[in-house]
Amino acid sequence: MFEIFGIPSTALFGQLLIGLINGSFYALLSLGLAVIFGMLNIINFSHGAQYMLGAFAAYLLLQYSGLGYWPALIVAPVLVGITGMIVERLMLQWLYKLDHLYGLLLTFGLALIIEGVARNYFGSAGLPYTVPESLRGGQNLGFMFLPNYRAWVIVASLTICFGTWFVIERTRLGANLRAATENPTLVRAFGINVPRMITLTYGFGVALAAFAGVMAAPVYNVSPQMGSELIIVVFAVVVIGGMGSILGAIITGFGLGVIEGLTKVFFPEASNTVIFVIMAIVLLVRPAGLFGRRT
């Protein structure tokens, strides 16, 4: 063990790791929000509830059908994504031309309903979900101990985030999405089924939240309020990164996770507020966010 700025290395790297883990979830969730906002013009306030639904789906799949972590990592996001698409078809599609506030209120209401129903059935104490067998244990890196599951969370989040970025910024499908964000009427008049693309995009954004929820199940407790606790921070991340910016969501997600972790080491009293202080400064200096386009 050695010291950096008078702080034992294990403590420093331990907090850095926690920061990266939190950052992995911030990035995944704010990425989903950015994708949804870019395409649908909806501020998806039910994102936290959909993240929680992902974790509960994994829990229920294990309890009632014996489906373990790895299949749940696919099945739960697909199921929750489908519920998202149903919500989009039944409710959200009527709000695109209205002010953002309407979409925000509708999804906020949905979040309250989903959370209330979950609390009614499962209480608020939280349910355990164990780390999958193949990822138990950890590596001793000399300067710190790295649990395998946490390493997996970071790698999986980075892969999904940059995979999504690549698809949107570098492929034909992504070009269609970007064009439809800019001028949906013209893209549709070229023969592209834009409403279907919007439904699938919402489903994908919601599935990302659910995917994060499944990954979070063994790290945090599976509880009805797990989403609402996280979503406030995630919205701050989105505001800092710039609403609708894909790369901004990813970089600020990880970056703020790390900053939060380091604050716990150097100035613990501020660790709960540091993200919001940064948000306030960014809003004053660059209202469109660090990576946002001025409109």
């Binding site: 070009a175 970007r178 064009a179 001028n183 549709r188 070229f190 023969g191 592209i192 834009v194």
Partner: protein, 238 residues
């Protein structure tokens, strides 16, 4: 197959609205296969709205739009495009978040028989040079217009709706666009053109329809243009 007398595009009693305002009041005209037909008229006569109504991108429309004998009035705009009609809007519609190549490849191929990229670059050599360019909207106005026309030639659509392709462009570019329209006609494309600039239109069109207050009020062939010039000046207020 269409018989020789069935028009490629037949429009009857077309009514169109933008929100509350009723713009088209029973437009009726047709376009034969292989023709270049121009809609002339003053600002606000309903020319652009006619194109948008054919394409299904106005708020509300009624009447009949038959393409290759098939009724399109009840279809969504993506289905109309898939039927084989392509639209080049007045504002050109180049996407800022797409590079030049992505803009060019954006409209999907709706049927076989579209031009290859090489053929498009033969028509618009500038586009090939600008292919590596970062943002579609960084091109000059003329290049953006070429990109807007070029990208719909790939799709295999047989009917092209061009909304004021010469607006705001330098004379040398206008000439190039005129040359392109004639080349496209030779290759069997059918073109419905909206123009304010009837001197330009006279270099490419086979027939003209004149619009006023959301109706067709006159029509004549290119051969009859000289006999109609005075009347036309009157209609267009020039």
């Amino acid at each position: 197959m269409l018989d020789a007398r069935t028009p490629l595009l037949a429009i009857k009693d077309l009514q169109g609205w933008y929100g509350e305002s009723h713009i088209l009041h029973g437009v009726k005209f047709d376009v034969q296969e292989g023709e270049v037909v121009t809609l002339l008229g003053r600002n606000g006569a309903g020319k652009t709205t006619t194109l948008k109504s054919i394409m299904g991108i106005v708020g509300q429309r009624t009447g009949s739009v038959r393409f290759e004998g098939r009724e399109l009035i009840g279809l969504a705009s993506n289905q109309i495009a898939r039927a084989g009609i392509a639209f080049c809007p007045e504002e050109r519609g180049i996407f800022a978040s797409l590079n030049v190549e992505e803009n060019l490849l954006l409209p999907p191929v709706v049927r076989p028989g579209g031009l290859s990229l090489d053929r498009i670059f033969d028509l618009f050599p500038n586009l090939k040079e600008r292919l590596g360019s970062s943002q579609g909207t960084k091109l000059s106005g003329g290049e953006q217009q070429m990109l807007a026309i070029g990208r719909i030639l790939r799709t295999g659509a047989r009917l092209l709706l061009l909304d004021e392709p010469t607006e705001g462009l330098a004379p040398v570019i206008i000439q190039q666009i005129g040359k392109t329209i004639r080349a496209l006609k030779e290759q069997g494309f059918t073109i419905l053109l909206v123009e304010q600039n009837f001197r330009f239109a006279s270099t490419v069109a086979d027939r003209y329809y004149v619009m006023e207050h959301g109706r067709i009020i006159d029509q004549f062939a290119n051969a009859e243009l000289d006999a109609n010039v005075e009347k036309l000046h009157d209609y267009l207020g020039v």
